[in-house]
Symmetry: C2
Subunit: 389 residues, 2 copies
């Protein structure tokens, strides 16, 4: 299969789970106006689809996540990113639900993105890959579900950029989404969010090895830029309190400062490590594209400044979750969405969870989040006419 | 004069105000153990020293500040960084006080730093310049005051890194400091502070043009790295609210997004501009040295975990100021110092000013800050036995 082969070239033969080649009959018309197709979407599934195809939970991953939600990630060799959430007996109980997660459009884990080979040129797209949006990601996922023969989603859920997708799903395909759980998310990126992303992009694009986005052809990788981007982003994922608890001012393998520019402090060593391992698993151009998609996300503007209009007549049941210690997607951003949903007379519940772990809390073992989701799914199942989830 | 000549080479003949060559008789023994001397300290003065030399206000500048507190900065051509604070009739009234500000050790505006020419090699120090600390900066300032024949400081004041110096002055030379005003400061850098600085340093040191710190000899400048460092830091100087008010999601000279990686948003354009102009005025190695000095600053550790011991018997009158919207040096950090001063039975007042402008608030037109300082100086003058300030 062409798409698989193309991706295999990119990841040196490591399997990426399932891959669907989409847009064969008709291309996907992106928000930027470009027709994309055919294109690959890599995805992973957990649990079994039931007979009436009514038990789908679609998980949408965050900026640097991927389709490997739980179990071993064959690319990194590490555990998936949401092991507490998905599995037998867990909130997304794979004994009951069919859980699907697809690598987003523009990503670098098997779905079409700037690292993919452009069939028209035989070379990686690089910056010739069209700029995509959150809505484009969702459209591609809808095409995947069409391919899988699943019309209705019992529940779509994601944190951060995944939460943006969950919101966009309910807005773009309200009739297909029974329930949605956007976690630590927002209806649009704030100036500070955009600024933080722009620092990362400038670090990447300013790296001499970026080579105008064509580094793959040159056998180069903008390691420094991508690493710095990750380091800056990582700070924004943690709260000040979490960093203090984890590292404080503790020194790294030394009793006193070195009077130099090595990693004297544990927090420096940790950040450098985060940067280094990220470069091994993530594509620099994908980082540009996905941060851009987040920056562009703006449901408020799309509905002429009235967010409630985005949810007019939307039958989806919503559960929004935020964390007190999240300064990247703080509670007021979730509250704006809740107010809009209330104004649109939509069905919505909202939980702000007390946690000082920062934005990353949604990825962690947060019992209150799990309980909230279990309860919400139970209620959603009671109101589900699509079948037995 | 050697130091002036050396600095003139560095800044292409632009005047830097006064320059003192210090450490001629005896070197300055730095915390790292290196003996530095002779070395240049560039400084600027405002107002007149009175007859009994009792009217000195020593201003300590922040990370990227310099000695040009007010009036035109001859290097940048722009206005000084604290025009609201220093001048006739202003809080630091130059009709009454003699205001001195020296470029810090390790800086790049005329005081000895990594950009200076090492007389032993005839080349810029680069990374062979010894790593300095906040205490080293203060020691060099003390040597400058000795040279100027001023024994006692009526008041020492600074924000951010300047506040660290003000604290260090009172701790190291308590008998020389009648009053101290540390603004938006801390007794030590937090893990998040260190992390943010480390991102900037990694951006600089990862820039191919940094050349192991020897870029001057190679006729290069690590522009990208320094610019990215500045952009990341700049975000931390503003509050989310200030960024939202200033930029929101407004586009830059366009009606719709470009589906590209240009500066679509005003906040991106602004940050890029901040990065670009910073590269023109600041030395990349100085940025490494000064951020390191801030990271190393730790009055708590220096006094074995009991900050109050730092102020034992200290006769200095303190006024601490913090801002509600400052997330880089938040109020709790100032409060820790206030508690320690109280525990040491020192004379201290503390004002938290309601401002959502972020860390940079101390540089802005903040009437409550000015009133606080006016009132504090009036009280300090009443208790000043050093003469008529």
């Amino acid at each position: 299969m062409r798409s698989t082969q193309r991706y295999d070239e990119a990841v040196a033969g490591v399997g990426v789970g399932h891959t669907a080649e989409l847009g064969l009959d008709a291309p996907l018309t992106l928000d930027c106006g470009v027709d994309l197709g055919p294109f690959a979407v890599a995805y992973q599934t957990y649990g079994e689809l039931n007979e009436d195809r009514s038990n789908l939970i679609l998980v949408c991953h965050a900026l640097t996540g991927d389709q490997f939600v739980t179990g071993a990630n064959p690319i990194t060799g590490k555990e998936g990113w949401w092991p507490f959430m998905v599995g037998p007996g867990l909130p997304f109980d794979t004994d009951r639900y069919f859980v699907v997660c697809a690598n987003v459009l523009g990503g670098c884990m098997g779905t079409e993105g700037p690292k993919s080979v452009n069939p028209r040129t035989g070379k990686p797209y690089g910056l010739s890959f069209p700029v995509i949006t959150i809505k484009d990601m969702v459209r591609a996922q809808a095409m995947l579900l069409d391919r899988l023969g699943i019309e209705k989603i019992f529940c779509v859920c994601g944190g951060s950029m995944g939460g943006m997708q969950a919101l966009q799903w309910a807005v773009t395909y309200p009739e297909r989404v029974h329930a949605a759980i956007p976690i630590g998310s927002a209806a649009h990126h704030t100036a500070q969010n955009i600024a933080l992303h722009e620092v990362g992009r400038q670090a990447i694009m300013g790296d001499a090895d970026w080579r105008d986005g064509d580094y793959v052809s040159h056998g180069a990788i903008p390691r420094t830029g991508l690493s710095v981007a990750r380091m800056a982003a990582h700070i924004s994922y943690l709260s000040e309190a979490a960093m203090h608890r984890k590292f404080g001012r503790q020194l790294q393998d030394r009793n006193s400062v070195s009077y130099g520019f090595g990693a004297d402090f544990q927090v420096e060593s940790y950040l450098r490590h985060q940067g280094t391992v990220f470069v091994e698993r993530f594509d620099a151009n994908s980082y540009l594209y996905l941060t851009r998609a987040m920056d562009y996300f703006d449901l408020v503007k799309e509905y002429d400044g009235v967010l409630a209009d985005a949810f007019e007549g939307c039958p989806t049941r919503f559960c929004l979750i935020s964390f007190t210690g999240d300064w990247l997607f703080p509670t007021p951003e979730s509250r704006k969405i809740v107010h809009a949903l209330n104004a649109a007379a939509a069905n919505v519940s909202f939980v702000e969870i007390d946690s000082d772990k920062g934005h990353d809390a949604f990825l962690l073992d947060e019992p209150e989040m799990f309980e909230t989701i279990r309860g919400f799914l139970m209620g959603a199942a009671e109101h589900w006419s699509g079948g037995t989830p």
